[in-house]
């Protein structure tokens, strides 16, 4: 009787401890979200005062077009209107001044991206350890990933903390930051779908794709379309990347077994169907931009350039810029290339980055928009995918680091990651001056 009572007491105590721990962890996650909001809100308010800043352009030049009289002109100028749309709702429905509305909108999207990344890590920990109680680490990693920037050292003659290196978090740009959360969702959903197509008994890590696959195909199509409404540059990169990924799978499948190849072709077709709404919208945007002269004038068009012609305007050494912007993912690749070349998640990450990189190196807009380097945005999205996958891989490598040598290798990796985070903080500080 006594033992039973004691056991019950102990169990109750353990439950209380666990709940208390969970509450503390959740509190930390909320603290990170608040700090992120503070950073983003301050950046927006500070950047609005600079006439050439992206926030100033989007809020004081493009946003005023969003009225009943100029709605078509507004769409023609900014067909990716998700950020502007939310500002519009906050201003007109809640009567919030536009500067504050812009700040709140950016905070909303920043917290959304942070929440999505945190959820991804929770699912990963659940997959590795079998429970998702490691939310403290998930929150920390998500917060760090929300601010990381390329490593910037005075010793190098790079244009600035962002220009020249570029990064997965262009915090000075409202639309690129707006697409990040949706992009991560697209990535993990695609991963689950791709795994499900390859293995019949696959249980989804992030979504329960095994239960009702059709629903998730539709969800992917919606997310891709939503991403084009936020900023089309992610879909421009990602659809092509998934296409290349599936083509490679199709070739290897057909090479092994023709029947399997035919079966896999059906999956490729399904994925293509998912991308149609987004592709149609991108086509519509292209017609608007390059035929109807939606933004600036009809004189601009997409052109092929020599290798890195646009990038070299901002950087004297593109290889060095790549290394500084991607030091952590490159280190993870160096530690375990098999992950990026053999697994679905790794392959999706690296192909996304390479497709983005190729677009940045070889594509540009002609005319006055040549120096705007707008094809760097797909690369920024590709960097985000590669960064996410690299951090996931690092978390998994950490689990394997049982020997001293492996542990040192993993710690070096986290050190590089911390350097990126520190540079992110310094970049935020610079944006606030």
């Amino acid at each position: 009787m006594f033992f039973q009572k004691r056991h019950r007491n102990l169990r109750g105590q353990r439950f209380m401890n666990k709940t208390a721990k969970k509450n503390t962890e959740d509190f930390l996650g909320i603290c990170y979200a608040v700090v992120l909001c503070y950073f983003v809100y301050s950046i927006v308010q500070n950047q609005l005062s600079y006439i050439l800043s992206d926030y100033n352009g989007h809020l004081y030049v493009y946003y005023p077009l969003f009225s009943k009289e100029f709605l078509i002109e507004a769409w023609q100028t900014v067909p990716y209107f998700l950020w502007h749309g939310v500002v519009f709702i906050l201003e007109n429905l809640f009567h919030i001044p536009i500067e504050n509305a812009a700040g709140y909108t950016s905070c909303f999207f920043a917290v959304f991206s942070y929440g999505v990344i945190r959820w991804v890590f929770l699912k990963i920990f659940e997959g590795i350890d079998g429970d998702s109680s490691n939310s403290q680490k998930a929150s920390t990693l998500a917060f760090c990933l929300s601010i990381v920037q390329g490593i910037y050292v005075d010793f190098f003659d790079i244009e600035g903390r962002y220009l020249g290196i570029f990064s997965m978090n262009p915090l000075h740009n409202p639309t690129q930051m707006c697409v990040l959360g949706i992009a991560v969702l697209c990535m993990v959903l695609t991963y689950d779908i791709v795994c499900m197509q390859k293995k019949k008994d696959y249980n989804g890590i992030f979504f329960h794709v095994e239960k009702n696959p059709k629903r998730y195909y539709i969800l992917l199509a919606i997310l891709l379309l939503l991403s084009t409404l936020a900023k089309p540059t992610f879909a421009e990169m990602f659809i092509l990347a998934v296409g290349i990924f599936m083509l490679e799978e199709l070739c290897s499948c057909t090479f092994k077994d023709r029947k399997q190849g035919k079966k896999y072709f059906k999956h490729c077709f399904h994925m293509f169907l998912c991308s149609i709404p987004a592709l149609m919208y991108i086509l519509l945007q292209s017609i608007d931009y390059f035929v109807m002269g939606g933004s600036y004038s009809g004189e601009t068009s997409v052109i092929f350039t020599g290798c890195g012609e646009v990038w070299s305007i901002f950087s004297e050494n593109i290889i060095l810029s790549i290394v500084l912007g991607m030091a952590f993912p490159l280190y993870v690749f160096l530690l375990h290339p098999a992950f990026f070349l053999k697994t679905n998640l790794g392959k999706l990450g690296i192909i996304s980055y390479l497709v983005g990189l190729m677009e940045a190196l070889f594509l540009a807009e002609s005319g006055i928009k040549f120096t705007h380097a707008n094809f760097m945005w797909p690369m920024c999205s590709g960097m985000a995918m590669m960064w996410l996958v690299s951090v996931i891989e690092m978390v998994m490598l950490e689990k394997q680091a049982v020997s001293k040598r492996k542990n040192i290798l993993v710690q070096i990796g986290w050190f590089i990651f911390a350097a990126h985070v520190l540079c992110g903080y310094l970049y935020i500080k610079e944006l606030l001056i």
């Binding site: 659940e126 190098f156 795994c195 004297e316 530690l335 375990h336 697994t343 394997q400």
Partner: protein
């Protein structure tokens, strides 16, 4: 075979990088500075061999010398802004940047030492404050410039990169990846996600 290819790729002549000569100021008035150059084929500082550069934020000026010119350069003349009034310019330092790296950093007292100046015009005096590592130039109303000595020009030319470090870095990364692939240090255990192996 791979090692031989690597050594060849390191030793083979590679197109050289552009050179950026940057001058950092503490005090300056005016919008533009100019750099005139002489090459092996051409003598004299003529208008067709002039590189103009804006004074950015009143703090520095960046002369972009193209790789083909930097290779042949034999003489450099630096012109300060033509403001029409006398002014005292305070120079912090000079850097030679190439291939995205600061290859050389010159103390202003070294750079403007009389032995490194082969000629000057419109400059009534140069004071070198060695303890503060600053050089002050008193410029007259019109056309202030000074000509660098040939030794200093050679030193600047030495700063031109041929991307050797970048090439070495790429090779090391490729070798590192191959080594890591062969050793497969981190693939002893297979991680499991909800019953599905991640490492196929």
């Amino acid at each position: 075979m791979c090692v031989i290819c690597s050594i060849i790729s390191l030793l083979v002549p590679f197109p050289k990088a552009d050179v950026h000569l940057k001058i950092y100021f503490d005090e300056i008035e005016g919008n533009e500075c100019a750099l005139y150059y002489e090459t092996e084929d051409t003598e004299g500082y003529a208008a067709e061999r002039c590189i103009m550069a804006d004074v950015e934020d009143n703090t520095y000026v960046d002369f972009h010398i193209e790789a083909s010119i930097a290779e042949k350069i034999t003489g450099i003349r630096i012109d300060m802004p033509d403001t029409g009034v006398e002014q005292l310019i305070c120079i912090k330092n000079f850097t030679v940047n190439s291939a995205g790296i600061i290859q050389k950093k010159f103390n202003s007292c070294y750079f403007l030492d009389p032995i490194h100046i082969s000629g000057q015009h419109g400059i009534s005096g140069i004071s070198l404050v060695k303890v503060r590592k600053r050089a002050y130039i008193r410029c007259e109303e019109k056309d202030p410039y000074w000509i660098l000595s040939s030794d200093l020009v050679e030193e600047i030319k030495d700063g031109q990169s041929d991307y050797k470090l970048t090439r070495l870095g790429i090779l090391l990364f490729i070798y590192g990846c191959c080594f890591s692939w062969k050793k497969d240090v981190f693939s002893e255990t297979t991680q499991k996600f909800e019953g599905t192996t991640v490492y196929e």
